[in-house]
Point group: C6
């Protein structure tokens, strides 16, 4: 790969605009130190609390390209590494997302990594210890990671089963940072800005979310993430009545339990 | 793809005739707002309550092509995205239904999405957040969705098992709308019109369905959908005796439990 | 496909001789109405009660070709739709049985459909609602069903497990008809005619079957179907002693339980 | 296939020498009647009681070629039907054992058929009702069975689990015959002749087997078959001490349970 | 295959040096009789008691080539029979180990046969009854076994689960011989000779093993085999302190249970 | 393979710099004796206690190349042995990591071997007894191991399930050595040196780890390995506050249990 195509690829994965992100603690400083020491990082936290946005923010801040992969239970190591493609009767090697990140010195973000097949272990381990290598079996190549490469993984401790736990030998290769929903003030700011509505309504939506997140009844495994609040804000802005907007965007997506929906409905009625 | 072939394909998936649909609440307004904001939508409700018809109605109303996929437990992401076909000794790429929808700006409707294999996550996530992209691994292409594209999914909360629940990180990417059977007046209107029988008989069929839907005994996991009432109406119109038509079209399809069939039979006898 | 080859194929699947069938209720009228309205039909009933024969009878009566597929747990949608075959170094597309039925306007009978793999859903659904289409993924073709096509499925409520139940969203696409063993007079007539023995012996065989069908002890999940009575008749006609013929053709096939065999043996001894 | 090659193939599967078989009841007459009526036959009985030998005997007696397939849990329908083989860069179709039997009018014997994969249903059903056809999907051919073809299956009721039971819709397509170990006199005759030892020792071995077959203790799911007695006889003839021969050939193969082995050892000590 | 290449292959599998083996009973005589009668043999016994060595010894003694296959749960019949290989763009058939043994008249030893996939049944059965044939499906060849061929299998009754038991219809095709650890004198001789240490130390190691084999506590499913004693001897000879050698070579490999390790440690302390 | 390319490959896998390793007992002497006798070695111990570093150390000390493979549940024998690759339309054989090690006389280290698929048995067994061979099925080659080759495996007794236990017939082929965390003095030395911080802070980190390793409460299956202490040290050196560094690098990676995190937090507060 020439320097030119490498630069073009980096450009491709560069975050061009500053992602909107409000710091909630010293997570930026810890991540910067981890990145400076090239330590792999594990982000823990519930759905919709801003893990993905944080990684985008850090990639922008550190001026590094970002390669994101949403993991799932049918994702094999080969999906990360690459494959041979047939292009006009020729077989051409095509780097997978991880390989690209390793070559160009990107931050590679494996979202919900425990969901992936276990053969991903074989690529994670040598990239997260002093070897910093990636073996591409199918071409016989052994890549030494670009000095700027670092691996970031996320996972949600709330709904892991025993079967889907990370092995200790994998966990103990990462610095961990835990995330939670932003503080009310911050979240109001975010919802108002991204949902394009006034701060007052945004604050009410955040209050609603706060109450929902405190419910730990049967069936409600997780609270509403910030994204759902932004969805509600957008519906309101398009003239959907506020209660209906909250119901559609915040309550109904969370659970199918009718009793819980009633409870959630009461919360809406109390607020609006 | 030329503009011409794109237009032809859109034509292919356009709903030509206004689907018969009677509004039951403000679901049309909410969907229109969601579509205006390009928010992904999740339709929840029992079998046969009109979710599919509603999507057809909205596609017609918004004048968008509609691509429908019935999901099942052997449906892989690759079935949605596309594959290479052998045509006269040449390998030709053939877009899958989702890819087609993404290219032409259609509404893509994944019916009973929880049934599909979990690797569909990888296509759903980047299409339902600010990225709005679809990566076609096999060709190396990354599609940016047409501005008019939006994803709609349906699922039936009534018969989901723990194993087949949508992950929170997927759920919290959708506005949700819940559906139920139409109100008696509306349903009578529908059955009379689609089954081509008089309103009086139609009303009786709807009354029967209402009674059945109130039974929550062992084994009857769901009530009879509107389609079954229309089936009964059509049999009656073709001179099948009304009790027999109800039994064949409404009761027998619902359950194999003999006791329940007796109860259902009694309901018919009471009405006709 | 030319009109000529289509006609030839129809001829291939036509039932040439009137199948021997004795009506037991108004099942013929209901089926005719369902077919006139092109409603899909589900036949429910125990093994050997005549469901398959009934479909053959109706196909003959309606003068439609009949395509029958015995479903099993390794039957995939692709087995129904078709595949590419290698013929003298050429790949040739070969329609599967369902595709053939859809093209020529046949009755397609999926026997014991719950046994099949779940991806058959994807072919059943669009063929049983107002779309009436069959998508052939591998060739990219979307077939609109011939106006005379209709889908018929059968299944046996007696031995379905929870895992093998039809989904409500599939069930509620069919008119259902339930079948049981023919009444004694009818069955005697059938056994005498098909087994080529005198009515008196046939009547005794039917009495034996009636007694067996009333046993609902541990292990005897189903009674003896009419086919087994015909088998017994044929053995008797070939001079196998009557008790031995009953044991071999009627009792031994039903169960491996020794105690039950004794009970069945006593029933034979009482009768002959 | 020319008549000549067909004749050659039949010759291949013909039983040339009369298999040694001693009749124990009227099983020969029943089988002959079933064959005359071309009824499919199911042989039930414990391991080593002579089912396979009986089929060989009948094939010889009826002068029909015999094709035997030992079924197992990785046997698919395609293993029975045939496949394309690569021979010197040419793909050549090769009939599987069942297809060969269907073409030449052989008796096809599927030994322990419940062990096979369930897609074998699709080949068994149309060959065992009035259709008598075999569809070869891969070539698109539909074979009508030779008039002399008949299907025979065996299975052992002793060690079937619920999972491995034959479906009623399959069972009720066969005449059944049950087999047990031969009577002592007959078995002595067999062991003496096949094991090439004197009748007295043979009789003792049979007595031993009889005692073992009466034990129904924990772990001894089946008694010793006749083959093991013949093995013992052959070892004795080659000067292995009689007790040791019995232990090696009759007791040790049956079970790994040490207590049971002691019991079996006591039986040997009592007799020899 | 020419006689020359056959002879070369036999040479390849011939045991050239007399394997060191000390007879413990009349196992040699029984095996010789079984081989003379060409009866298949099953060797039962715990890990490391000398079954493999015994087969090597008998192969040497009978001057027959020996083909050994270690079975495992991913071993399919095709791994035994052979496959087509691509060699410089040509497909060449390559016999598997069993096929080679059948052709050249070797003893074929399937070690821990219950571990293999169940389709191995299809190759074992016709090779162990009067047919003595091996069908090579992929080439269409049916091999008649060389007159000197015989099949030997081993298995360890100690750790078989219900799922991994040999079927009775397979078991009852073999003469069985059971093995146990050698008597102390013999084992001392073996350890001293193979481990190259003095008889006194060897005797102590054997005493240790004897004590360990008598422990039947929770977790210790098997005792230490002779090989581990030889390992200990070799470490001692290379100046590892005797207690440490015993711990590393005899105790630690056996179990991960800490309490059991303490018990084993006490046994070492008592002896050395 | 020429001597030159072999030498180049050995160079590739040679450990160039002395890995930092502090001896904790006589593990070096035992390993040297085992290597001198070419006995296979099994390393047992918890995550992060230095097993991998020890192997690197020994490979450096013995001046042998080291080939390391991280095993996982989708690792098949073929991944170890090699495969055919398509390179510019040519199929070229590519040795897998084990094959390379066997050819060049390397130490081959299979990390967490129990995780791998069971067909690895077939490669492990003949390489760990007197045969010392590796059969490469796909090329038909049988490699005799280089005299300097030896196999080393590791596994962690702490989190093995019954399903993932090594079979006794595999275990009893290895000398075993058990590892634990280094003694406090040694570990302080290591952390100070590798984490580049003062000994006092390093000692405190080691004290923290010691306390954590003594907790055996619900959920904490393993203590913190030395690597995590080094991570903490590096963060501290980059000015992350010490408590935060400990939390991110030592506590959060270990467990998702909130109560345990509180306990771990208290331990930090007590120390710093």
């Amino acid at each position: 790969m020439t320097d030119g195509t490498m630069a073009a690829m980096r450009e491709c994965y560069r975050i061009r605009q500053a992602p909107y992100y409000l710091e909630t603690g010293d997570e930026v400083a810890v991540f910067e130190a981890a990145y400076a020491a090239r330590l792999p990082v594990m982000l823990k936290g519930p759905t919709g609390c801003g893990k993905t946005r944080f990684v985008e923010h850090m990639a922008y801040r550190l001026d590094r390209p970002l390669v994101t992969v949403a993991c799932h239970e049918d994702l094999f190591a080969s999906d990360l590494i690459g494959r041979y493609l047939l292009k006009r009767d020729e077989t051409v090697w095509e780097d997978g997302p991880l390989t690209r990140a390793v070559r160009m010195g990107a931050i590679c973000y494996l979202d919900e990594v425990v969901e992936a097949r276990k053969d991903t272990t074989v690529v994670i381990h040598p990239l997260t210890d002093n070897r910093r290598t990636l073996a591409i079996d199918k071409t016989g190549e052994v890549l030494i990671a670009h000095p700027d490469f670092v691996l970031v993984i996320s996972y949600n401790p709330g709904y892991q089963s025993v079967l889907k736990d990370l092995k200790q030998s994998t966990r103990q290769r990462f610095i961990a940072m835990d995330f939670d929903y932003p503080a009310p003030d911050l979240e109001t700011e975010i919802v108002s800005r991204e949902g394009e509505i006034d701060r007052e309504t945004a604050a009410k939506l955040v209050t609603l979310a706060g109450k929902i997140r405190n419910i730990r009844e049967h069936g409600l495994t997780e609270g509403a993430g910030t994204r759902l609040l932004i969805y509600a804000a957008r519906l309101i802005r398009l003239h959907v009545p506020v209660r209906e907007a909250c119901r559609s965007a915040v309550c109904l997506p969370l659970t199918d339990d009718e009793r819980l929906q009633e409870t959630l409905g009461d919360l809406i009625d109390d607020l609006f």
